[in-house]
């Protein structure tokens, strides 16, 4: 019997042949926490009475969720992170560096075939770089930090094919929202979801990362893609990886619990309505819902291509009077590139508020908390009640194009009317 990508990567890290359902101890190539989870990682590490981390070069902490700090409670957590780093010699990507899921691949911590744990649920993002990366809790992460390993149940795999050409105004975000709407938020629980197909091959790496980022929104352990020239080029040029890169492919006779395929040309601009990510409809069917805040950014859609798309819609236009549009470039590098390319100027002239690289208002700790009864349209990955800081507010999720178009109209818009 052939193997899936997940079975191959976990087998290689356990040092023995594994198949779906097996439980094994595997070596970790890299692990990290962010400012919402690192405090508990540090507590668990100290409770273990270990003095040293297994390898200071294989762990980092990223201050991105509330950065810069909005209050003294967070400031104390940030201080604890910085102090721990000094004592143990691990790296901190401090305020302004950006969202962990964008910073970590940029900084060269991800390679095809690697096994990565992050104390953040969207760690599944790096599957687009052909690594098995998955989110865990803080104590789980602390165990990896102490021992360099953790326990894994080898997941069953689901194969999703996406083929054909996307229509103008339709993006990878619309594809993944469409898929989650179809399979449900519980549709792939504990599975490794392998994405294949001609649509992906033509897609940029930025666009692919949006898809794997949201694999967890259907319950998946990881979202996997094969590595092609675009991935290798990113790893050499941006991540500056000099060591040997060995992509991992699925065997032709690998076993999948489910195989689904989608025709890209049939997908329209989509939105996820409050308060679940699988509550999906066409943007055209949600038109006329007034919005108070539009947000472009996050680990889902705050990359350079996303900002370029938003810029192309907002250039020479103004956002609707009386609404706010917040833009958070996902990393310092992206911020710099977007400034050099004139995108930031476009946003400022359109009336947007550009905030520091980081998670921005997505997690509801600062930078754009909604008032009671307000509606937001966001390029993020979650619209749970209370997510943006107020349980009495409503969040719609969409592509950066749909968010930008909605910011202009002051209501949910179909981006195709603005291209």
């Amino acid at each position: 019997m052939g193997k899936t990508i997940a079975e191959k990567i976990l087998s290689a890290h356990a040092g023995r042949d594994l198949a779906a359902g097996d439980i094994a101890i595997c070596k970790i190539d890299f692990c990290f926490g962010q400012d919402g989870t690192s405090s508990l990682i540090i507590d668990s590490f100290r409770k273990s009475k270990k003095k040293k981390v297994f390898d200071p070069g294989k762990f980092c902490m990223v201050i991105d969720h509330s950065a810069p700090s909005p209050n003294t409670g967070v400031s104390e957590i940030h201080k604890k992170i910085r102090d721990f780093a000094k004592v143990t010699g691990v790296k901190v990507y401090d305020i302004g560096c950006g969202v962990c899921h964008v910073v970590i691949p940029e900084m060269g911590h991800v390679k095809p075939g690697s096994l990565i744990l992050g104390a953040d649920s969207h760690t599944c993002t790096y599957g687009a770089l052909n690594s098995l990366s998955t989110g865990v809790g803080s104590t789980d992460l602390a165990i990896a930090l102490i021992s360099g390993k953790n326990w894994f149940k080898v997941p069953e795999s689901v194969k999703i094919g996406i083929n054909g050409s996307l229509k103008k105004g339709v993006y990878s975000k619309d594809i993944i929202l469409h898929i989650i709407g179809d399979l449900g938020s519980n549709g792939c629980t504990y599975n490794s979801v392998e994405f294949h197909g001609s649509t992906l091959k033509r897609m940029s790496l930025d666009a692919r990362l949006t898809i794997t980022n949201m694999a967890v929104e259907m319950g998946a352990k990881c979202g996997m893609m094969e590595a092609d020239e675009k991935v290798l080029s990113f790893l050499r040029k941006t991540s500056k990886i000099r060591s040997k890169i060995t992509p991992v492919t699925a065997d032709k006779d690998a076993h999948y619990v489910k195989t689904v395929s989608y025709e890209a040309s049939k997908i329209e601009p989509m939105v996820a309505k409050p308060h679940t990510v699988d509550n999906v409809t066409r943007a055209a069917a949600a038109k006329n819902i007034k919005v108070n805040e539009a947000f472009i950014g996050t680990c889902t859609n705050g990359r350079l291509e996303d900002l370029k798309i938003a810029h192309s819609i907002l250039r020479g236009r103004k956002i609707h009077g009386g609404i706010r549009c917040i833009v958070a470039p996902a990393s310092a590098q992206i911020f710099k590139d977007a400034a050099n390319l004139g995108y930031i100027k476009t946003f400022i002239e359109a009336g947007c508020t550009v905030v520091a690289p980081g998670c921005g208002p997505c997690v509801g700790t600062h930078e754009g908390i909604l008032a009671n009864g307000e509606v937001a349209i966001s390029s993020a990955n979650r619209n749970f009640k209370g997510r943006m800081g107020n349980p009495n507010a409503y969040i719609y999720l969409a592509s950066p194009a749909t968010v930008a178009a909605s910011a202009i109209e002051g209501r949910i818009a179909d981006p195709r009317d603005h291209l």
């Binding site: 439980i23 508990l40 104390a119 809790g137 149940k153 352990k221 997510r387």
Partner: protein
Amino acid sequence: MKKGNSHVLKPFDNVNTDYIISGRYKFKISDMKELAKYLFEDISPGFYKKVRAGDYVVAGENFGCGSSREQAPWAIKEAGISAVLAKSFARIFFRNAFNIGLCVVQCDTSKIKDGDAIELDLDRETVINHSKKLKIKTMPIPGLMRRFLRDGGVVEHFRKHGDFKIGQ
């Protein structure tokens, strides 16, 4: 485990970690006992005050979906809940719960009503619903996780054994 009251959640399915403990509090409060006071606040205001030590949380499919915040199982544990019973659990929450020593069990929860007196028997893999006078079969808990529960969590497991004790 001892007998306790069941608290059946609304919504029943897809109770996410933001509903368990809002992101507003996870940054503000690092004391888990204090955090427990805000348990389920956005979906069930005043929940913490209704709970007595040894009670059970009961839910449907995909309990604990969403973020990886470990504050979610911690808040449940510190509120004094014996175990969470649900039809299914989200992956990260499931791991986190056993790692911190909170028992979570998969079973058919449709036969448990809010306020029923129930009791979980881990050895017999059964939930006894004393109010309805019926027994519900639970899914077996993998050996490694039972060890974590016995040891009081994975950190304590590591302190005790110095490594993972798998398959023993």
